[in-house]
């Protein structure tokens, strides 16, 4: 009975006709915020967004202002997180680093989603040879660990903000394509859809009325789960010197700088690690809560067997 109640709630969140998009979003956010993990995720992400938008106001210094005399210092009242090897304020660099983290992750995930949506729709709808080719393509991309693929591509393309975004987008696209392809195939076999098709409904109509409402929830969850991955890949690439080029304060670049001076000062590593971990944790918790709220069937942990 508890299961039925939860299902009902989830269905209400998903129902396409229930009020405007804004009210539905509001209800979804309330539902997410009711759970501790979801609340944590929302708070972290809101903080992050504030920091990203208001970085010049929040940051005590310019992220590029050097002060060689006070280099590699520990935390103090002047520099809450300490300074790096050029005497730049680490707190300011971490704050501006959030701009790079989200500035890469969000466009990259959007690219992945659009490429995946298109590929998945086409391969799922057409089936046959096209589908097989698409599957081999997706398998080929996923045969590389995402980091290695991005590394190989950036090694030849050269590191730049644009290239980093594209490369991460390509690496993440198959995940979306797979979900969309599966849902498209399922929708095609749906009897309502078959009936509508036989009545001469257009493909666009089917896509808008039957497919999108069903795809929205899993895509939403996937996006929330992929943003932390994209952030981690971006920082990783920057750590290896293949990310957004210096002097950009990418968290990965901060880690690399800190690594070079690891024997002298740990603060760059600590500050950047903390920022990275908090951000990825926030997004992951939001993603998990979204999954619980939007699709209880997906979360095994909460499943409770119906009694007889």
């Amino acid at each position: 009975m508890a299961v039925a109640a939860r299902d009902g709630k989830a269905a209400a969140v998903r129902a396409p006709a229930a009020g405007g998009a804004l009210t539905r979003l509001g209800r979804l956010i309330r539902e997410v915020a009711r759970r501790p993990a979801g609340l944590f995720g929302l708070i972290v992400i809101c903080l992050l967004l504030v920091v990203v938008v208001a970085a010049p106001l929040v940051a005590p210094y310019s992220p590029y202002a050097q002060d060689i005399v006070h280099r590699l210092q520990g935390p103090s009242l002047h520099h809450l997180f300490g300074t790096d090897e050029l005497g730049r304020d680490l707190l300011s660099r971490v704050i501006f680093g959030a701009r790079i983290a989200l500035g890469v992750a969000i466009p990259a995930v959007l690219i992945a989603m659009f490429v995946g949506l298109l590929t998945g729709l086409i391969s799922g709808y057409l089936g046959g040879g096209t589908d097989q080719v698409a599957i081999v393509g997706m398998d080929a991309i996923q045969a590389f660990p995402a980091v290695i693929l991005a590394l190989a591509l950036l090694a030849v393309l050269g590191p730049s903000l644009r290239n980093v975004v594209i490369v991460i987008g390509v690496a993440l696209a198959p995940g979306y394509a797979r979900v969309v392809r599966a849902m498209t195939r399922a929708a095609k076999q749906n009897q309502y859809v078959e009936a509508e098709l036989s009545l001469g409904a257009s493909t666009t109509r089917i896509a808008v009325h039957h497919l999108l409402p069903n795809i929205a929830a899993p895509l939403f969850i996937l996006i929330a789960m992929d943003i932390p991955s994209a952030i981690a890949i971006e920082a990783g690439l920057a750590f290896l010197g293949l990310g957004v080029p210096p002097p950009s304060p990418s968290w990965g670049a901060l880690l690399a700088d800190g690594f070079s001076y690891v024997l002298i000062s740990p603060w760059a590593i600590i500050a950047a690690s903390a920022a990275l971990m908090l951000t990825t944790l926030g997004f992951a918790m939001l993603g998990e809560t979204l999954r619980d709220v939007l699709d209880p069937k997906l979360s095994g942990t909460r499943r409770r067997r119906k009694k007889r």
Binding site: A37, I135, V136, G137, D139, A140, Q142, A143, F144, P145, A146, V147, I148, L149, L151, A152, L153, A155, V156, L157, G158, P228, A232, A235, G236, F239, L240, G241, L242, G252, L255, G258, F259, V262, L263, P266, I269, I270, S273, L276, M277, T280, L281, F283, A284, M285, E288, G300, T301, R303, R305
Partner: protein, 314 residues
């Protein structure tokens, strides 16, 4: 099963062909002249021409792809731009260190993650369950390089009880293990959390199954029910994930090897990217991808062998 295996093999073949074509063409994406990029603007024209010839860059594109395939089939992945050493032998020297690292962290993850998951599942709502729930998601989201750097900071720099860099020598197992410990833990961190969660979830589901209740109703001891009857069914779904996970593991290995200066495949790829030594990058990436594809294929088959239901159905 046979039909399935055949289909899977054919698909894998096409995937490998696609990967190799992509890698063969990768060098075409380099803006400018890749050979000049490495040898520098002042290199004599004859040297540049001879390297171009060695790399088939003076041939038309389809021929380049053909030679890459033909040579790779003979185990020849080209030669190092600078030292003129065979890429295959370079990879062959580095590969064992990466394989050992990956297997060690996988073993570590299994040894710690599985019992943690089982405990959490058999004590749902208990304090350790709550703690692990938060701990596991923190571990899962922690990138390998963050784990590596923090371990380095604490154990090698702050306490100086572990070696910070180097691979150690395989002829001195104790020393080798000492060098292996931190990198393996750094790489395993994500997987400890991930496995614990997976096992907990599937264990909770399995413990709810009717056959567990039936086994209990027969008076079979709880420990036997949990560790023999439930665990096997709970671990089966995780096998499928471990295959995919090995890819992430190989990806994470590059960071860990760079941080701890381990002479593995990741370090090799990283160093050659720094020096724009494309044949090594290409060869290294190809080996990683092939390894990943092979492991995936293997786990897929193991998965089908372990679960007798799938064995018959498919």
């Amino acid at each position: 099963m046979l039909d399935y295996a055949l289909r899977r093999l054919v698909m894998t073949f096409f995937v490998v062909v696609l990967i190799m074509t992509f890698l063969a063409l990768l060098i075409q994406l380099v803006p400018g002249d890749p050979v000049r990029l490495v040898l520098g603007a002042k290199a004599p024209e004859e040297l540049v021409q001879s390297v171009r010839h060695d790399m088939y860059l003076d041939k038309p594109v389809p021929a380049q792809v053909y030679y890459f395939f033909a040579n790779a089939l003979h185990g020849d992945l080209g030669v190092d731009f600078q030292s003129q050493r065979s890429v295959t032998s370079l990879i062959w020297t580095a590969l064992p260190h990466t394989a050992i690292l990956a297997l060690a962290s996988l073993a570590l993850a299994g040894l710690l993650g599985v019992p943690l998951g089982v405990y959490a599942a058999t004590h749902p709502g208990g304090w350790l369950d709550r703690v692990t729930a938060v701990a596991t998601i923190s571990l899962i989201t922690m990138p390998a390089y963050v784990a590596g750097l923090l371990l380095l900071l604490v154990f090698s720099v702050h306490w100086s009880i572990m070696p910070a860099t180097g691979t150690g020598n395989l002829s001195n197992p104790a020393d080798y293990l000492k060098h292996l410990a931190l990198p393996a833990i750094a790489l395993a961190v994500t997987w400890i959390g991930y496995l614990a969660r997976l096992v907990r979830t599937s264990m909770l589901e399995v413990l709810n199954e009717r056959y567990i209740m039936a086994a209990r109703s027969q008076g079979i001891r709880d420990r036997l029910v949990v560790y023999k009857y439930a665990l096997r069914n709970a671990v089966i779904p995780t096998i499928a994930v471990v295959g995919v996970g090995l890819g992430t593991l190989l990806g994470g290995a590059i960071f860990v090897e760079v941080i701890f200066a381990r002479a593995g495949l990741g370090m090799l790829i990283y160093n050659s990217i720094q020096t724009r030594n494309f044949p090594i990058v290409r060869g290294g990436v190809l080996v990683v991808a092939l390894l990943f594809v092979a492991v995936n294929l293997l786990t897929d088959f193991v998965y089908h062998m372990v679960d007798p239901r799938i064995r018959v159905v498919s």
